[in-house]
Symmetry: C2
Subunit: 343 residues, 2 copies
């Protein structure tokens, strides 16, 4: 009999999810049926979208119910298999959530090749965040050579990929992050043309200096005051793929006025802007294969670099998750739930 330790949604958060929102339980897993596998979690991915699923309001997917295991992508090791497609010892991409073990249908997991890339990248640069950057930038942002692309949370897994893909396409990349250390990484580690610190008192002026020809693509994954400053510099025909608004996720009510919506619509009209929300799985069928081919090549040849921020132990997940919503992580945030047999 196998048990799993799970972190479940215990209460819906009001604002930042505090400890009362989570409960940890250990339960027995059912016996495997034909076609199923027993998985041991190696890495759990923590991503901003999870905050939306903790609330009762419909977002782009149904909310979690109270008592549900917190959801999330994982890299897992197969420890028992009743499927001919997956063998014990295989490492797979799964969606096991915040738990140490899980039972899954073999058809719902994807085998990873540890010789091609570190398996953790399946949750980052070669996984959902990387694909979000790829599809949103290339299909919606459509940067042309010489244009200026701006992205915030730019040392994160989406933002860092956006900037580097923009460079591959010949565009100018301006990244925004919080603090001098991240700012430095933007140019030194990820090859942005300019890195900016949104905490700088002169941020608005520095953004203007960094974008002398205005902004043609703003990849929106943050919202808040950073977005406000960027919007004022958008060029006619600029494109704004919107994949996240992490600055708003813990908001408990609409902010005080004035109401900026009419002015925003006026900007959309007077500059012929395109604002386009998207969830990456819209593009899986159309762009998923190209993504894996292109991104694997770019990671392999060094055009796209990535950074991971690995927290040790499932019990650390709630605190790490809270930190991510505040921008405390530095790179793709992963929880190491158990040993990685490939390292």
């Amino acid at each position: 009999m196998t048990t799993t330790t799970q972190i479940r949604l215990a209460a819906r958060p009001v604002g930042e999810p505090d400890d009362t929102c989570f409960e940890t339980v250990t339960v027995e897993l059912p016996a495997l049926e034909d076609g199923q596998v027993l998985l041991r979690t190696v890495y759990l991915s923590l991503d901003p979208y999870m905050r939306g699923r903790m609330s009762a309001a419909r977002s782009y997917a149904a909310p979690l119910e109270i008592g549900d295991v917190m959801l999330g992508g994982t890299v897992s090791e197969v420890v028992e298999s009743r499927s001919s497609d997956v063998a014990v010892g295989d490492l797979v991409l799964s969606f096991s959530g915040w738990q140490s073990h899980a039972v899954a249908d073999a058809g719902a997991v994807r085998r990873l090749d540890p010789s091609a890339a570190p398996v953790s990248t399946a949750l980052g640069v070669l996984g959902m965040p990387g694909f979000t950057a790829y599809a949103g930038l290339l299909e919606i942002g459509r940067p042309q050579a010489g244009e200026t692309v701006v992205v915030a949370a730019a040392t994160g897994p989406v933002g860092s990929a956006v900037g580097q893909i923009a460079k591959v396409k010949g565009a100018r990349a301006v990244g925004i992050a919080g603090g001098p250390e991240k700012r430095r990484a933007l140019t030194e580690e990820f090859g942005f043309d300019v890195g900016l610190d949104h905490r700088s008192p002169d941020f608005v002026e520095e953004l203007a200096a960094a974008t002398p020809d205005g902004i043609d693509v703003y990849f929106e994954n943050v919202g808040g005051p950073v977005a406000d400053a960027v919007f004022r510099r958008l060029n006619t025909y600029a494109r704004v793929p919107v994949c996240g608004l992490v600055a708003n996720y813990n908001a408990t009510s609409a902010p005080e006025g004035p109401d900026r919506l009419p002015g925003f619509m006026g900007q959309i009209l007077s500059r012929s802007l395109t604002i386009r929300g998207f969830i990456q799985d819209e593009f899986t069928r159309s762009h998923g294969r190209d993504f894996l081919r292109d991104m694997s090549q770019w990671v392999g040849d060094g055009s796209v670099r990535y950074r991971e921020d690995v927290v040790d132990g499932l019990e650390k997940a709630p605190e790490a998750f809270r930190g991510m919503l505040r921008g405390a992580n530095f790179g793709k945030l992963l929880v190491q739930v158990g040993p990685d047999p490939t390292r």
Copy 2:
């Protein structure tokens, strides 16, 4: 020596443009140079975009200067010609503005064929408003058969064309207008599936009943509370071409809070919406020829009907213009500046 009576911008409006914003003067016109024509204005088009050009703020085009003749499209008769391309008696589409006569380069006017359609349609259904509807709906809105298209100011020249083109494309058309008479015209005259009166106390419920499958395309030419109600019913992947925001044009400051912008961005994200501002001349090169072919055919076969609201006398232009910004016109607003020789 020929004189022209002009209405000029005398002062920038604060809110609704009152009489102090306009001044009427009569001046002599210069003698014609080679390649020029002398024009007598027959019809002057009044359109909401003119309000933006009266303000000092940069919109999508440079503002008028104090003392400039108020701008606008006209249908004019050639009364003298020093060009072999245009003959005395020709009726042409010009951009003479709010005045009785004008001198223009022959290359800047387009000859109209009175036998093909009433010449006034060059300012409406077969002109800029019709093209705004055509390009915005088909290139940005992209309605599919069976989808639901909503448009406000729906008895106006843009809105009425949007609804009727949507019907040509097999979509369901829901029009919104102000008052019972306009509401009735939406179904009886323009063939909308449903007409709604935004002044109805039950407007929100009536909109819900009229769009049981949600809204796939909202052609935004109004803004304000109507837009708020429509946005709440947009489906995933809905498209919103934004060509005007007439409800906001006289606003003197940002409205009081709460600030709805973060919530609006959240909707864009959670429903994968596309919001796209445009000015019709972006599409002139790519779609202008198709427009004239398609729209002429649709007007000819009765698929697209149009309504004109003709005000007699140039001196009536300021009051008619103010009324249009409040929605008082019923159909395409034209000023008859002089006799129409084709009627």
